[in-house]
């Protein structure tokens, strides 16, 4: 039975050292009682406390690692149902499926395509996390051969998709030391699969057709002493995927229902309409899948999905910001344009990237707006003529150029007059969207 906040509090050091991020041990205990933090966050907790707290100290959803080294990916470890309650911690891992009946040339082509699915966004690299190799026939030889080829040509952690313990064992003989995800165990084969997972120390996907079945299979596997598991319900309709994942997450967090205290894998690959498959995948990212498997390498589908993952998994408490400063882009000379924007990372990178792609050297002055966007900052008085004039002054950008012309975002055209008055600079109103900057800058420098 779960412990109350006070019961937990009695077991803590009561030093209020704040290392857990909470102001007091009591606050930490209260949060732990409702599953919003994990005992791991208190470095001072005694072994005795850990032992006494037992299940209450365990995070409501286990953290499971797939792969190793630089490309390892962590699944689960979530503490809340809604990101505004704290944050979501471990972004949904995205795997791309390859079948073992693909001709070798097509396979390597697909692997290259996966490798190319890497995108810079807001200064962060977004990419694919795993290759899922699916056995299609009963022949384990082609499965093993595909596993060999994939591991020779891709650094990504593998997900081995076969229900046949023989094929799984043969594949593990090759890649077993690399912590692939074994997918997996079902009613008929769970004993052999669990034994293999134990032997190689690999995480294991446990699959059942409905939640009751999943609950008892999860108990059987964990009762057998193996806990690095991932839950899977093979639902097809988007609604079923959503409802199953929600029920699992909710019971794990609110009810501390141990059989569901594991990350969830959702497969969304078999939809013929690429947009509909993407929509199901998006639903899984928002609602509780720790891993999804896609059957496409089309960047037009993958980029939006990875962007969505970044959105959902940013910490809602802290906007990502850059330092307020004068940034040099390209090789600006004394006639180079000077532009201003805010220090919200998204805004800064949107603008910076466009200036860069225009190939016009420029100075970009970022105003400290507490990491808020242009209009948000303007509406809250953080990106007004005063602050912009001050930033121009403070960064001494005027010493780098021999003109006095500054370009402001099109959305805040209204502040031009006052800014000109305050700063003594000529104010040019730029386009509204950064995407129009290259054209703007090219005609600007032409004059």
């Amino acid at each position: 039975m779960a412990l109350t906040g006070l019961q937990i509090f009695k077991l803590l050091p009561k030093t209020n050292c704040r290392e857990c991020g909470f102001a007091t041990c009591l606050a930490f205990a209260m949060a732990l009682a409702v599953g919003k933090t994990s005992l791991d966050d208190c470095p001072q907790a005694s072994d005795e406390a850990r032992e006494t707290l037992g299940a209450a100290a365990e995070p409501p959803i286990r953290l499971v690692t797939v792969g190793q080294g630089e490309y390892a990916v962590e699944l689960g470890g979530e503490l809340v149902l809604f990101r505004h309650e704290k944050t979501f911690y471990h972004p949904t891992a995205v795997a791309i499926e390859v079948r073992d009946d693909l001709p070798e040339a097509e396979l390597t082509e697909r692997l290259h395509a996966v490798q190319a699915l890497s995108f810079e966004r807001v200064g962060i690299t977004m990419r694919i996390n795993s290759i899922a190799i699916r056995q299609t026939g009963s022949d384990s030889a082609s499965f093993v051969k595909t596993v060999e080829l994939v591991q020779a040509n891709s650094p990504l952690p593998l997900t081995l998709v076969t229900q046949d313990p023989g094929a799984m064992r043969a594949a593990l003989a090759i890649v077993g030391s690399k912590r692939p995800l074994l997918w997996g165990a079902a009613e008929a084969n769970w004993r052999e699969m669990t034994a293999l997972a134990k032997e190689y120390g690999c995480p294991l996907v446990v699959t059942a057709g409905d939640l009751a079945g999943l609950s008892s299979l999860s108990e059987q596997v964990t009762g057998n002493g193996y806990k690095d598991i991932v839950l899977h319900v093979p639902a097809k309709a988007a609604g079923d995927v959503l409802r199953a994942a929600t029920a699992i997450r909710r019971m794990a967090i609110k009810k501390r229902f141990r059989p569901f205290g594991f990350p969830v894998l959702a497969s969304v690959g078999d939809n013929r309409d690429a947009y509909l498959a993407a929509l199901t995948a998006a639903t899984c990212i928002a609602k509780y899948a720790s891993m999804i498997v896609l059957d496409t390498v089309d960047p037009a589908v993958v980029l939006p999905l990875l962007t969505l993952r970044q959105d959902i998994y940013t910490d809602p408490q802290k906007p990502i910001q850059v330092q307020a400063a004068c940034y040099t882009i390209g090789n600006p000379g004394p006639d180079a344009p000077v532009l201003v924007t805010t220090n919200f990372s998204l805004t800064y990178f949107s603008v910076g990237n466009e200036i860069e792609s225009s190939r016009v050297g420029a100075y970009l002055v970022t105003v400290d707006t507490d990491g808020t966007s242009v209009l948000t900052a303007w509406a809250s008085g953080k990106f007004g003529p005063e602050q912009i004039a001050e930033a121009l002054e403070k960064t001494a950008v005027g010493e780098k150029v021999k003109h006095r012309k500054v370009v402001i975002p099109g959305y805040v055209a209204v502040l031009s007059g006052r800014l000109a008055e305050l700063s003594g600079w000529d104010v040019l109103v730029g386009p509204r969207e950064a995407a129009a900057l290259p054209g703007f800058l090219r005609s600007y420098t032409a004059n």
């Binding site: 199901t280 928002a286 962007t307 995407a435």
Partner: protein, 317 residues
């Protein structure tokens, strides 16, 4: 541990709102939205209300700098909003039309209130589906324009707005007198959303005549904030905050196509802009969107099908 499904029971229900005048025999269709007593599509918890409705946006002016995938489709009709709207309703399956009166902006075309109102009525007559009418964002002008629209379309139960805490009296009063509904807008803020709804209630606007616009952010451009604000609004409503127990409208097409990635991505095969728009909508559906305003016909189609897939399924939990 034996398995027993945990069901969430909320004390409050989202109000049910009817848009469009469903007078029998006049051919005008109407829509019911709202009514949920669960989080979106979680039908195992209880009645999850009417399915979200998917409409399409039409502009009164030809948009400048339109990305190719939109230009290709709308190019032939963009100069004629009535024809554009008719296509949306009759060929692309829009369940409602959202007419954005950008041209009313004094800095754009400064279109007259009369011209705007006539256009709104023509769109209503040509399409036969319910109509949402948006002003241009200039408070003073919107007051006269939307008042005129309300009068000219009297009795057709249009959804008109937005109104904000700073500017609501004139528009809301005109909408009520003429039997319309209003959009209560707030800037990504739960408390401000509550404030405008309470102000409208105080003015005498019934819960059945308000739809909330908690502000939409496009995928990768503020979605993470607007998603969570909507989720908080919906949770607060279900848990008993009755002033927020209203349907929500989101403008996915408009916001998504502003994104650079929508404009510049591949336009062959899967069109990145369409995916961008569809995913913006698909995600906000999970946050509680009841009315989804789209731009591209293909994105409209797939989101409509996705709603069906979310409502469907055969698994018993």
């Amino acid at each position: 541990m034996s398995f027993e499904l945990h069901r969430e029971k909320f004390p409050c229900r989202i109000s049910e709102v009817e848009i469009g005048a469903g007078v029998a025999g006049n051919g005008q269709r109407f829509l019911q939205v709202g009514g949920a007593s669960t989080l979106p599509f979680l039908s195992f918890d209880g009645p999850s209300g009417h399915l979200p409705v998917i409409g399409m946006e039409v502009w009164d002016v030809v948009p400048e700098l339109w990305p190719a995938p939109l230009e290709n489709i709308f190019g032939p009709v963009a100069g004629d909003p009535v024809e554009w709207a008719r296509h949306c309703a009759q060929e692309w399956g829009a369940e409602f039309i959202c007419l954005r009166l950008r041209g009313a902006d004094p800095e754009l075309n400064d279109a007259s209130p009369e011209a705007c109102a006539t256009l709104a009525r023509d769109v209503l007559d040509a399409t036969g589906v319910p109509l949402v009418v948006l002003g241009c964002g200039n408070d003073a002008k919107d007051n006269v324009v939307l008042q005129k629209v309300s009068e000219t379309c009297a009795g057709r139960r249009c959804l008109i707005g937005p109104v904000t805490s700073d500017n609501y009296r004139t528009i809301a009063a005109a909408a009520m007198v003429n039997g319309h509904l209003v959009i209560a807008q707030s800037p990504v803020d739960v408390n401000m959303q509550k404030q405008i709804c309470v102000l409208l209630n105080d003015l005498g606007v019934p819960q059945t005549q308000i739809v909330m616009d908690p502000t939409t952010g496009g995928l990768g451009y503020g979605l993470e904030y607007t998603y969570s604000v909507m989720e908080r609004v919906r949770l607060a409503a279900l848990q008993g905050e009755s002033s927020l127990a209203l349907p929500m409208i989101v403008f996915c097409g408009f916001e998504a196509w502003r994104a650079k990635e929508a404009k510049t991505g591949p336009t062959d095969g899967v069109v990145q802009g369409v995916a961008w728009e569809a995913l913006t909508a698909g995600t906000l559906l999970q946050a509680g969107a009841d009315m989804v305003v789209m731009l591209h016909p293909e994105a409209t189609r797939v989101v409509r099908e996705h709603v069906k897939a979310l409502a469907g399924g055969e698994m018993t939990l």
